[in-house]
């Protein structure tokens, strides 16, 4: 079986700062990591591979050359090889253009895939659109928000337990299929140092726009239906009041008085 795991590089903070002048994210000093939901996706892929044997896991990402870092990380965590789809022409891609490029790259480089696993969303953009869009473009059935992903005993179907508003659904689909996942292992994996070193010997295949033979107007900013006009942090709600006092006892008295005034305390 061939499992494709789509991964993304995201900033290693949840509270990114926005430059008030340019409206862009301040990335100085902010390291990048593998998106946590992509780590879950890899975890599901590794479990399936362990259960089935004879399975190849291929991590793929679209991004600038430094996105190679998350491919290395993916290979530490169990991917056998990886693909970096990188070209200046991909810059400024929205979710559709990203999905289109990734889908094209999957079709081009791994046409015989059986399963695509994608994290439900990236922690920076939070759109949760790219996975479903890839499924649409590739004409695949899709199962979203999976928390358990297993191959049935016949080996012909995937069975996914997915989160719904008031419980769970279990859905089965025939291969090839795309699954997005919202959770993985209870405790995150820790690769061995040998895994870390070995990952650096595994192949990273680079694919550029020219190889994909897609018209330029379908790529990057030109191929995007949407554009980010402005990025800004949400306005802080001032409902929180912080009691500042040099001495904890004074602060406690003030909080007591406040609570009594509002009748929270007798």
């Amino acid at each position: 079986m061939k499992i494709v795991v789509c991964v993304k590089q995201v900033p290693e903070v949840t509270n990114v700062q926005v430059d008030p002048v340019t409206g862009t994210l301040k990335r100085e000093g902010v390291k990048s990591i593998l998106n946590p939901f992509c780590e879950y996706a890899l975890d599901h892929a590794v479990r399936i591979a362990q259960a089935l044997g004879n399975t190849e896991i291929i991590a793929i990402t679209m991004g600038p050359p430094q996105a190679r870092d998350v491919l290395l990380r993916s290979m530490e965590l169990g991917a056998d090889r990886s693909i970096l789809v990188t070209d200046r022409k991909f810059a400024g891609a929205d979710t559709w253009a990203t999905a289109f490029t990734l889908a094209s790259a999957i079709r081009f480089a791994i046409p015989d895939f059986d399963l695509v696993i994608v994290g439900k969303q990236a922690i920076d953009g939070d759109t949760a659109q790219v996975g479903p869009e890839i499924a649409e473009i590739l004409g695949l059935p899709q199962i979203t928000y999976g928390i358990e992903v297993v191959v049935t005993s016949s080996g012909r179907h995937i069975r996914v337990k997915r989160e719904v508003e008031r419980g769970y659904e279990v859905i089965q689909a025939a291969f090839p299929v795309l699954v997005t996942v919202s959770k993985g292992e209870v405790v995150r994996r820790a690769p061995s140092f040998q895994d870390v070193l070995d990952a650096r010997k595994k192949p990273v295949h680079i694919i550029t726009a020219a190889e994909l033979q897609i018209p330029e107007e379908e790529l990057g900013l030109k191929g995007s239906f949407t554009q980010v006009v402005k990025v800004f942090p949400p306005t802080e709600k001032k409902s929180t009041r912080i009691v500042e006092s040099p001495e904890s006892a004074d602060a406690a008295h003030e909080i007591m008085a406040f609570l009594q005034e509002r009748h929270f305390l007798p």
Binding site: E12, G29, K31, I33, R68, D69, L72, R73, V186, V187, R188, R189, A190, P191, S192, F193, Q194, D195, V196, L197, R200, K201, P246, E247, S248, A249
Partner: protein
């Protein structure tokens, strides 16, 4: 130069210093000030002061000297030997002296330095250095301070302050007066190695500014301090040799030593440190690796091999004994998420935890030396956990600290049944050549007495914390006797009875194992010269009874 002049502090009115009077009021309204992380109980004391600045601190010290009232100094209260737990008189909390004052490039040494007040926390400093965001400096009215900060921000490197005592909520000043150390002491040495200057207030309210490299003991071992009144006091430094290990037992002493080193690690009995200047170094990417092993003896052999391999530059080398791993395994069995790491492999009966430089982007990283050394001891890099992202390093750090925290919670439960029980944790280090011997002693004695025990800690510095977890008062008694035996053997090996926690009020009896009465008298002579009335930190390091 072995002579130094103390300066009078700016004036402040004593009556305006915030003061809480009366033990009952302090007990009921300010209970956190009654103890520190040692959980030692205080004896009744009368005053709790909160000076806002150095002038107010000086006013308090002058008034307490005038009234001959003893003064205990507290900052973050993270010490483990009761140093800041008052026994009488007054407690002075330095918590408001918490400003970062400058960050600047020192051209003569070619290093970036931070100057800060004593109560800036190590955690706070690290966060500011990571983000290069220093609120205190950004609003400074001093143009030079702002220019220096701007230059620091423009420097493309990231910097850090190397000392990393486990408790990062410790204050910078507290870490200086205790010469704090931690895992990274293996590579970077203790706090002492990074202190470039201090300001210290003497008991009479005057202060000394002591940059490193300016004031040295005379060839005869003498220092002279001139007060602003013209009076002079002189003293000779102790003539003992320091152990060839980490040590926080007693005053530092060395021929023609730097005066700054006398105050570093002196546990605040000579003066009150209000300002420190420390050096920074470029931050490197790191990898944390937990190597799982077959036995504790294999861990010791691997430690010796890793230390001996000069090709390797490890930041730290830490140890989990088999019984420490079992403790964590039990936690994982009851709740897998509590430990925050995958299941500890079943074949792991000991572990070594190392950290070293690592460039995640290197095309072909060369770790052949590490692989060879690990393999030569019968271990494998494949039987390990590794992490290098910041969140991974943080996760591994939590894992490293989980053992002492778990032990504390086990003892807290037992204490509910038997209130007299407490943990017995050793803090002793021996020279390199005695590592296996001391380990054999620890293991054989704990097993022979059938005590529950767990070992972990800074094996790279031969500084293994043996924690005895008594179940009964009889266990506690046996454990205390064993502790005394360990201390005696460690001293015989040329080691230190307190490698990093200090002496404080809890370990003074062990100081007597390490130093002769004459040597302790030499320390008291220094104390008497600096603090003639003996008002500072009473009962820390040595009892003042009998002081001259």
């Amino acid at each position: 130069m072995h002579e130094i002049q103390s300066k009078p502090a700016p004036q402040a009115e004593f009556s305006r210093v915030k003061c809480i009077q009366g033990f009952e009021t302090i007990q009921s309204e300010y209970p956190v000030y009654l103890s520190d992380e040692s959980k030692l109980s205080p004896k009744p004391f009368d005053y709790l002061f909160f000076p806002k600045n150095e002038a107010e601190l000086a006013a308090v010290l002058q008034e307490m000297s005038r009234q001959n009232i003893k003064v205990t100094i507290a900052a973050a209260r993270t010490g483990l030997v009761g140093g800041s737990v008052p026994q009488e008189g007054a407690l002075v909390s330095l918590e408001h002296l918490d400003q970062v004052e400058a960050i600047f490039y020192d051209r003569s040494s070619g290093e970036w330095r931070v100057q800060a007040q004593t109560s800036v926390t190590l955690k706070g400093l690290d966060a500011m250095l990571r983000s290069k965001h220093f609120p205190d400096l950004e609003k400074s009215e001093d143009l030079l301070v702002r220019q220096n900060l701007e230059a620091f921000k423009q420097d493309p490197n990231s910097y850090f302050y190397p000392p990393d005592p486990t408790e990062m909520s410790a204050s910078l000043g507290g870490s200086v007066v205790t010469n704090a150390s931690g895992a990274r002491t293996y590579r970077y040495g203790p706090t002492r190695a990074w202190v470039r200057g201090i300001r210290v207030f003497l008991a009479n309210g005057e202060y000394l500014d002591i940059p490193r490299g300016k004031y040295f003991a005379s060839p005869a071992g003498e220092f002279v301090i001139y007060r602003s009144s013209g009076e002079a006091s002189s003293f000779f430094i102790p003539n003992y040799s320091m152990p060839k290990t980490k040590s926080t037992a007693g005053f530092f002493a060395a021929p023609q030593m730097d005066l700054i080193d006398l105050f570093i690690g002196s546990e605040g009995v000579l003066g009150v440190v209000t300002r420190v200047e420390v050096a920074l170094i470029p931050r490197e990417d790191k990898v944390s690796i937990v190597l799982f092993l077959e036995s504790d003896e294999q861990a010791i052999r691997l430690t010796e091999a890793l230390r001996a391999d000069k090709r390797l530059q490890l930041d730290f080398l830490e140890f989990y004994s088999g019984n420490a791993l079992d403790l964590l395994r039990n936690l994982q069995t009851s709740e897998p998420s509590t430990v925050g790491m995958p299941a500890i492999p079943g074949n792991a009966h000991s572990a070594i935890f190392i950290e070293m430089s690592f460039d995640p982007r290197a095309e072909s990283p060369d770790y052949q030396a590490l692989d060879e050394t690990v393999t030569s001891c019968g271990a494998s890099l494949a039987n390990s956990w590794a992490g290098y992202e910041t969140r991974e390093l943080d996760r591994f750090k939590v894992f490293r600290h989980m053992i002492p925290e778990t032990i504390n919670s086990i003892l807290a439960e037992r204490k509910k049944q038997i209130p007299g029980l407490h943990k017995l944790g050793t803090d002793m280090a021996v020279p390199d050549e005695y590592l296996m011997e001391i380990w054999e002693l620890y293991r054989s004695q704990c097993e022979a007495l059938q005590l529950e025990w767990i070992a972990f800690g800074h094996i790279g510095n031969n500084h293994i914390h043996v924690n005895i977890l008594p179940k009964t008062m009889e266990d506690l008694k046996k454990g205390m006797e064993l502790y005394g035996l360990f201390a005696q053997k460690v001293v015989e090996m040329g080691g230190a009875v307190s490698a990093e926690h200090g002496i404080g009020k809890i370990k003074s009896k062990f100081l007597k194992l390490m130093f002769s009465p004459a040597q302790i008298d030499q320390m008291k002579t220094v104390k008497d010269a600096m603090d003639p009335q003996g008002i500072l930190n009473p009962n820390d390091i040595f009892s003042l009874e009998g002081s001259r």
